[in-house]
């Protein structure tokens, strides 16, 4: 009797699949449940942001950076503002720097909440997602009071921030932190300790440190593999050098494999605590003063180029800007964390089950607007 024959099937996953986090499509070649190949097909959310950047003046590109990663708009705003400040040699007043750190870290919490919540919901546990969204909603309320928007904040400006905090805002941020800090433990009780959840993640798709570096993984995905690299520490910008915080790294949590999906998840959970710590320090020491440096109305940076990278929730975001001395940039290249995370999925998913692919995508925290720009 001849051995049982199995055919390689082609299966489309996405672009409307709920766990591909936006419009991303994978063409899977599967042998039964086992993935033989996962070919990512990107470009469904391509908006040509790099081209748009060449057409609008420097300050007017700010709202577009919101759309670069709509879950962490302030971090993107900041990256763009910082690039142009470096290019034009603009000094930012200290109060604005503090406000930027506070808002960026709040945004990091909001973004990680979506990430961990979405991973749980991809694993079949929908309740944690709702819990995460509930807490994120409170952050959105804070942002709405600060700058009037709940998603596309457009808060940073070249040389500062757009608005000062309204009266009592810092107290409300503090109130939120007091409320939220114990909520992390509640969230852990709810899902992180869950045996089924842990078992589904802790040995799945480990990324070794060498592999992570070779594929250019950044941010929590890189740190999940045990590489202690955080731009806030290693290439500091803003006022991060004056703040105390730790860089959590993966270490094979719950007897798992180093760099597994669960490590990446845990790094995000630990970063929530560090962000809270950073915000508390900023709230304690925020100085009075200006929030906006003197910037010419029509900004024409001198000829030159700059590459500036910052640590966003999904890893490093970098803007490479070339100026011709005109009021619009000559060329802008954007590098984002999700793009490199996307490139590793094909290699990583070989030999795992289809259900594990969902875990891989979720734990790498890939979102479509960052991949496609």
């Amino acid at each position: 009797m001849s051995p049982l024959q199995t055919d390689i099937w082609t299966l489309n996953m996405g672009p409307q699949h709920p766990s591909t986090h936006g419009v991303i499509r994978f063409v899977l070649k599967t042998d039964g449940e086992i993935i033989a190949d996962a070919d990512p097909d990107v470009g469904f959310l391509h908006r040509g942001l790099e081209k748009i950047a060449e057409l609008v003046p420097y300050p007017s590109f700010m709202p577009y950076t919101d759309r670069l990663d709509y879950l962490a708009a302030i971090n993107m705003n900041w990256a763009w503002a910082l690039s142009i400040e470096r290019l034009a040699g603009i000094e930012v007043p200290p109060r604005a720097e503090h406000l930027r750190v506070i808002t960026a870290e709040l945004n990091r919490i909001a973004s990680h909440l979506i990430s961990v919540g979405a991973l749980a919901s991809d694993m079949g546990a929908f309740t944690p997602f709702v819990h995460a969204l509930r807490d994120r909603e409170r952050i959105n309320d804070l942002f709405e009071e600060l700058c009037g928007a709940r998603l596309t904040f457009n808060y940073c400006r070249i040389g500062g921030v757009s608005l000062d905090a309204p009266p009592g805002w810092f107290d409300r941020v503090r109130g939120f932190l007091d409320y939220y800090e114990p909520m992390i433990d509640v969230f852990n009780r709810l899902i992180t300790d869950n045996k089924i959840f842990v078992e589904r993640l802790r040995r799945v798709a480990p990324v070794s440190a060498e592999m992570a570096i070779a594929y250019g993984l950044v941010g929590p995905n890189l740190r999940g593999s045990g590489v202690k690299f955080d731009l806030r520490k290693d290439e500091p910008y803003g006022i991060y050098p004056q703040l105390e915080f730790e860089v959590p790294v993966g270490r094979g949590y719950r007897d798992g494999v180093l760099g597994s999906c669960f490590d990446r998840y845990m790094v995000r959970i630990e970063e929530l605590r560090q962000s809270i710590r950073i915000i508390r320090q900023c709230l304690d020491r925020i100085p009075e003063g200006e929030i906006q440096a003197k910037v010419p109305k029509v900004l024409r940076p001198a000829k030159g180029e700059v590459y500036c990278r910052t640590e966003a929730p999904r890893g490093e975001v970098g803007f490479y800007v070339i100026s011709n001395g005109e009021k619009t940039p000559a060329r802008v290249k954007i590098r984002t964390g999700s793009w490199s995370a996307m490139s590793i999925i094909r290699e990583l998913s070989k030999g795992w089950m289809i259900a594990d692919l969902v875990a891989i995508i979720g734990s790498l925290d890939v979102i479509a607007p960052e991949v496609d720009r």
Binding site: S60, G148, P166, R189
Partner: protein, 192 residues
């Protein structure tokens, strides 16, 4: 033995999670049934969660006070998506008080005869409100604006009668003997 321990761990950790969920039954609801409940009304019946009516600085639809607007066109130039169109005529010289808190006076010689904002394109970024020297273009807290047809999203802030009145005024002004002043010209708001 491990087998039973695993089962026990799975059951106990699920029970722990369920306890968290269970506690939610005794807390106040976090959400409202939106269209039924008017979220702009501060006294929302039957609701005590964290949701507040939209905040002071909320970036809703744009509106413009055309009596104050000095037609300087800065808003149209800064807008990244070209959704503002200002056309103006030159009229008699007056001064207007800024709507900003400082209330500074600005001279006004240009009167808008057309001021359109395309809310279907606007991304509510607020750049226009920041550059406006008189603060006359500003956000409202209104966010409900579904329209059946696309062109209804273009808000015209100047009625035809008002435009007619300003044109007449401008014509009278131009007719006045003023040797050094050139006649009124039209300013196109559309950027290339």
């Amino acid at each position: 033995m491990n087998y039973f321990r695993n089962i026990w761990e799975a059951i106990s950790s699920i029970a722990q999670g369920m306890a968290v969920t269970l506690r939610q039954f005794f807390t106040k609801p976090e959400t409202v049934q939106y269209p039924e409940v008017d979220v702009l009304n501060p006294r929302m019946p039957g609701y005590s969660g964290h949701l507040k009516p939209v905040s002071e600085r909320f970036r809703g639809f744009l509106t413009v006070d055309t009596t104050v607007c000095i037609s300087c066109n800065q808003c149209a130039h800064v807008c990244p998506v070209d959704c503002i169109l200002v056309e103006s005529e030159k009229g008699p010289k007056t001064t207007v008080n800024s709507l900003r808190p400082d209330g500074k006076e600005s001279p006004k010689t240009r009167y808008p005869v057309q001021f359109d904002i395309h809310l279907g394109r606007c991304m509510y970024c607020g750049l226009c409100t920041e550059v406006c020297p008189t603060g006359c273009i500003h956000f409202t807290r209104e966010f409900r604006g579904a329209a059946g047809e696309y062109h209804k999203l273009i808000h015209h802030f100047i009625s035809p009668e008002e435009a007619e009145r300003v044109r007449k005024l401008a014509a009278e002004e131009a007719a006045k003997p003023k040797p050094e002043k050139p006649v009124a010209t039209k300013v196109e708001a559309e950027k290339e």
